[in-house]
Symmetry: C2
Subunit: 250 residues, 2 copies
């Protein structure tokens, strides 16, 4: 069976602030949510609601941050914030620090970003536990609406060998993050090899197409995936991380 | 402005064979194509129409292919086909060869695949010039329908640090492959940093959600991107390749 997929951005959400009940704002703006819907949220809305924001003026850079900042033409306090979010620095070049975050994501600058920050001189961090945040948002949406849409929290990640960024799932609840076709057979009866579809990442990328970057539309509803939306929250975006023992490029 | 995106797989396409007029088959199955539509085609349909298929029995493995095959538990003729498609072998581990193809794509096994091959003992290769193939398909679709939908040819690529595969654009005509927001400003007037959206890859990922892997649906129509669909064919998927001089992980 082929499915028709659709995605549209929610309008009318206010600027998110610390302590906001994000699920209530989404439920109000979305109107009719379905059990098979996926609510895709740009992480900054979640991070701001959580207060995952730091003021540059309150950051004391370490020697290492000062050295990296000097070498890469960055603000040492910004570099310190990146290092604080990271378990490992993989590469530093052309003003970008490629790190492994404490969550295990390999990305540029640990997702620490100035754009769309709540005020000048502040940095927005990734949520502390994006899978946990997705589960909480899902539970609250269910409480408010009586429906159990899946929740995906996203960030824009670069890629090692391709230009441009792709929105990527960093927190997932209620959506199968991977769809594993290995062992199933193709139309000629031959076993399909290495076909594990990163569904949650594909959903994140789809949502980004429905949103304009400058329009303050952090939430997109993706429809047509009821086969992948599950009653249980499932393993989350953690299941999308390649184990370090299998990392060929770290 | 937010856009509503939709995607649906074309039904009723026959199994593609060498010499088929793929654009004519698509035009017949699609019915009503619009100028702003994106026709997303799994590369195997294009490769098969082009005859980019090799018989294992006709491949003579080199010493290098024999050694790699022995080390990684693969068929040496299959390894030879992969090497023939590659300019560089980046990693070989766990039965997977990560290569740079002659086109410049970094992917597993140079996209050479047995599943959904036209017959036992055959391998399907990537198209020789996927951007050229996309341009030809677009021109032929225009000739047949009077419309100028964009064309994206895709393959499923793994990722260095994430599990699962994501359909990725390997050939593009008529769609801006990248949407560059750098220098534009966020809602507070601050310049947006490093926001270049890999639109063509997001479209490829979206299309894959609308298709079931076992159902023989190589073509998906993605709607709602008329702002990104252009009269000119544009730079193609080649514009998505990170230049080798900027490769931190090769």
């Amino acid at each position: 069976m082929s499915a028709a997929i659709s995605a549209f951005a929610l309008r009318g959400l206010p600027e998110i602030e610390q302590g906001d009940d994000l699920a209530a704002l989404i439920a109000a703006a979305a109107g009719d949510l379905g059990d098979g819907d996926v609510v895709v949220i740009a992480h900054k809305a979640v991070s701001k609601a959580q207060g995952r924001v730091r003021r540059l003026a309150e950051i004391e850079p370490s020697e290492r941050a000062l050295a990296l900042a000097a070498e890469h033409g960055k603000d040492a306090r910004h570099v310190q914030a990146i290092l604080d979010e990271s378990s490992e620095l993989l590469r530093a070049e052309r003003g970008v620090l490629i790190v492994r975050t404490h969550h295990g994501f390999v990305c540029a600058n640990a997702g620490v970003d100035e754009s769309n920050a709540p005020a000048e001189g502040t940095l927005v961090l990734l949520p502390l536990d994006p899978d946990g945040a997705a589960r909480e948002l899902r539970a609250r949406l269910r409480e408010l609406t009586g429906r159990r849409p899946a929740v995906v929290i996203t960030d824009s990640f670069g890629r090692a060998w391709r230009l441009g960024q792709l929105d990527t799932a960093i927190g997932v609840a209620g959506l199968a993050p991977l769809d594993d076709w290995r062992g199933r057979r193709d139309r000629r009866g031959r076993e399909l090899h290495a076909s594990v579809i990163a569904v949650a990442d594909a959903v994140a990328a789809t949502a980004d197409l429905a949103r304009a970057k400058d329009s303050g539309e952090p939430v997109v509803i993706v429809r047509g995936l009821s086969a992948q939306v599950q009653e249980l929250d499932g393993p989350g975006a953690a299941a999308l991380l390649r184990p370090r023992a299998e990392d060929l490029f770290g």
